[in-house]
């Protein structure tokens, strides 16, 4: 049913429809409204047979989910930014233990300086932690991805992180189609766990593994991620036929055929990018297309290569970068396109919630001056800082 909802409220409803039996909550902006919403649905009886735990830290939140999944129960939690780093050790642990937890990451930058606004620094900090990572373009997709996430996670025994841009999505009111309970029940049947902790199916999990076997364990975890490429695609198909909505999957092209320049991005900025590209295509000679990356982990290299190999130029708009190196997503795209003679340009945008307008993007897409640049960087502030006795400028930029 179509409803006008805040993104977080829509997600709370969607997650409740998936019938998790353990949900743990710890506050951090901008994720907080989601778990508040679920708590309300538990208390008012909408979400039944669910234990809602207010824990004392993110480390506890993810650890509780580890425990409940180990005992064979569908489990959910959410976090952002500093919270994700606070649980970091257990983020790796959850994937190593093959526990299909679903976690929302309300994307927010990482301090210091402390800043509560959106970018993808938090997600990028766990890109090698063994979780599947899916990025939502809008609130409808965020809702749909969560419903798909439980199915994907449970079918391959791997945790899934659904990345939802903080504020831009979590706090935005949009029309969202919330599916009916019976539809979700048909799509996502009752959890049939591969492990539990009763004496009939007793397991010891979390053994120490020596150099003799550790690499094989890691190889298999990598292999499982690659297998997930098919699973994610299949679940998207299944979702499409059940709900008649094209949500999720690995990547999504927009005006890609015959495009000279393809813009690549993840998350909510894709909406603005598509607007910018529509305007450019309506007026200019150069033809622009857009490639959304939905599945960042596993990284769909072959699909990306197929989508981009006809382009002359690829511009990656990325909301995080590696200090001392440069773009992260753009590096990965560059590797995929290696040897194809396609220019890859990296635009670092929206860091710490910096505004990204259609106008800024259009100017930049039409005439990207440098191969690596910060969108809307305020030179005056930087020059002023260089005047300060506390900061030394060594060498040239």
């Amino acid at each position: 049913m179509l409803q006008q909802l805040e993104g977080s409220q829509a997600l709370a409803k969607a997650i409740a429809l998936c019938r998790p039996q353990v949900v743990c909550a710890y506050p951090i902006t901008p994720q907080t409204h989601i778990v508040e919403g679920i708590g309300e649905l538990v208390r008012n009886g909408t979400l039944k047979n669910c234990e809602f735990l207010n824990v004392e830290s993110e480390m506890a939140a993810i650890s509780v989910a580890i425990g409940s999944e180990a005992a064979g129960v569908r489990s959910y939690t959410a976090t952002s930014s500093q919270g994700l780093l606070y649980m970091m050790e257990a983020v790796y642990n959850a994937s190593g233990l093959e526990l299909p937890i679903v976690m929302t990451l309300g994307n927010r930058t990482i301090g210091s300086p402390i800043n509560i606004w959106n970018d993808h620094s938090d997600a990028m900090s766990v890109r090698d932690a063994g979780w599947l990572m899916l990025f939502a373009e809008n609130n409808q997709e965020a809702v749909d991805l969560h419903i798909q996430a439980f199915k994907i996670a449970e079918s391959i025994k791997c945790p899934v992180m659904v990345c939802v841009d903080g504020f831009v999505l979590t706090h935005a009111y949009e029309q969202v189609n919330i599916p009916e309970q019976n539809e979700v029940d048909e799509f996502l049947p009752k959890y049939n766990p591969h492990i539990s902790m009763d004496k009939k199916h007793s397991y010891a999990i979390g053994a120490m593994v020596s150099p003799n076997d550790f690499m094989e364990v890691r190889y298999l975890a990598h292999k499982r991620q690659l297998d997930a490429l098919d699973v994610i695609s299949n679940v998207r198909e299944e979702f499409l036929s059940k709900f008649n909505r094209n949500s999720g999957g690995l990547i999504r092209g927009y005006n890609i055929d015959g495009a000279d320049t393809v813009i690549v991005a993840m998350g909510s900025v894709l909406g603005t990018i598509k607007d910018a590209v529509d305007n450019l295509n309506a007026s200019g000679n150069e033809k622009f297309g857009v490639l959304s990356i939905i599945s960042y982990r596993p990284f769909p290299q072959n699909e990306i290569k197929k989508a981009l190999n006809q382009a002359k130029r690829v511009i990656v708009v990325e909301k995080a970068f590696a200090l001392g190196k440069g773009g992260i997503l753009s590096q990965e795209i560059e590797l995929v396109l290696k040897g194809l003679n396609i220019d890859v340009i990296s635009i670092i945008a929206g860091i710490g919630g910096r505004i990204i307008t259609k106008q800024m993007l259009m100017e930049c897409f039409e005439n990207p001056k440098d191969k690596f640049q910060f969108l809307g960087l305020n030179r005056a502030t930087i020059e002023k800082e260089y005047q300060s006795p506390c900061i030394s400028k060594v060498g040239k930029e």
Binding site: N54, V55, E56, G67, A70, A71, M197, S202
Partner: protein
């Protein structure tokens, strides 16, 4: 003579360990050192819980010696459902297991276990959270008074003046002079949880009794078990039980139970001994008695014991 004279009463008061249906929750073949107090404490505790619940227990283990020696792939010594996640999160993982069972309406009792480092230091936040929510978990801390698995470093449970790898005595420095350690049973009591106890492998009857009682109580429970470590403390492996007994007898390890934040009973000591006889058997205290020792420095430890004797009403203080 009546059949109830002393000599004929033994059979009535056996431990789970002496029964032939002993479940061996932690079975043989593991890699613990000879004389390991922690292995013994874990088996006694879990076997008691197992018998009491007809095997309906699930165990969460913190990182530490116990986890490392019991479950190194492809070998596993646990005859019970067991999960190891991390060093500092066992209490929270156990909260999750308990929540899962509650949501499924399964009556399986949840135990979390870890060493003193994993409990009183790095696990403290998760432990306190579990207590505060009164989650239905029995947390057992096997207290060997240091980080043994990483090579005997000081923890907040290390006894005053003990030599550890990070508190090596040197000249005027007597080793671990950082106050008196963290009293986690009392911290647990301050949360007002239904049950807290201290126990020791020096008194297995008492230990089993406490575990059997705790395992049925709904809500958060904490038992801290004194578990001597031959390697870390420096004593012959056959002396583990003996040392645990001496720690009880001198008052350094008071055995008590508390309910809802109040001490309800403690085990009186028959013949209180001096801490000297306990300390002297261990290399970690050798510097207190050698020729370079500061005169009577060990009396600081006697004072700790005397404080326990008074506080937990273990008897009359004999050695001032």
């Amino acid at each position: 003579m009546s059949s109830l004279t002393m000599g004929n009463r033994f059979g009535r008061n056996t431990t789970v360990q002496s029964e032939n249906n002993r479940p061996n929750s932690l079975t043989s073949g593991h890699r613990a050192c000879q004389g390991c107090g922690e292995a013994l404490a874990a088996r006694c505790s879990l076997d008691a819980a197992y018998i009491e619940t007809k095997g309906n227990i699930a165990v969460v283990n913190a990182t530490g010696c116990l986890e490392v020696f019991s479950c190194a792939y492809p070998e596993n010594s646990w005859n019970i459902p067991w999960v190891h996640s991390l060093f500092g999160n066992a209490a929270a993982v156990a909260s999750g297991v308990a929540a899962a069972f509650k949501s499924q309406k399964k009556d399986i009792r949840v135990i979390a276990q870890g060493g003193d480092g994993g409990t009183t230091d790095i696990g403290m936040a998760c432990l306190s959270g579990m207590f505060e929510r009164n989650d239905d978990v029995l947390y057992i801390c096997y207290d060997n008074e240091a980080y043994m698995n990483t090579g005997v470093q000081r923890s907040s449970a290390t006894l005053t003046f003990a030599r550890t790898a990070t508190t090596l005595p040197n000249g005027q420095y007597m080793g671990n002079d950082i106050r008196t350690g963290k009293n986690v049973p009392e911290i647990a009591m301050a949360h007002g949880i239904p049950y807290v106890a201290s126990a020791s492998i020096g008194d297995i009857h008492d230990l089993e009794k406490k575990v059997k009682k705790a395992i049925h109580i709904k809500g958060a429970k904490y038992i801290q078990i004194h578990s001597p470590c031959p390697l870390g403390w420096g004593y012959p492996t056959e002396n583990t039980i003996q040392l645990a007994k001496l720690a009880i007898k001198c008052g350094l390890y008071p055995l008590f139970e508390a309910e809802n934040g109040v001490v309800v009973n403690s085990t009186a000591i028959d013949n209180i001994i001096s801490v000297e006889s306990y300390l002297k058997g261990q290399k970690r205290f050798a510097h207190l008695f050698g020729k370079n020792a500061q005169v009577n420095s060990w009396k600081v430890i006697q004072e700790l014991a005397n404080n326990h004797i008074r506080k937990y009403k273990l008897g009359e203080v004999v050695y001032e």
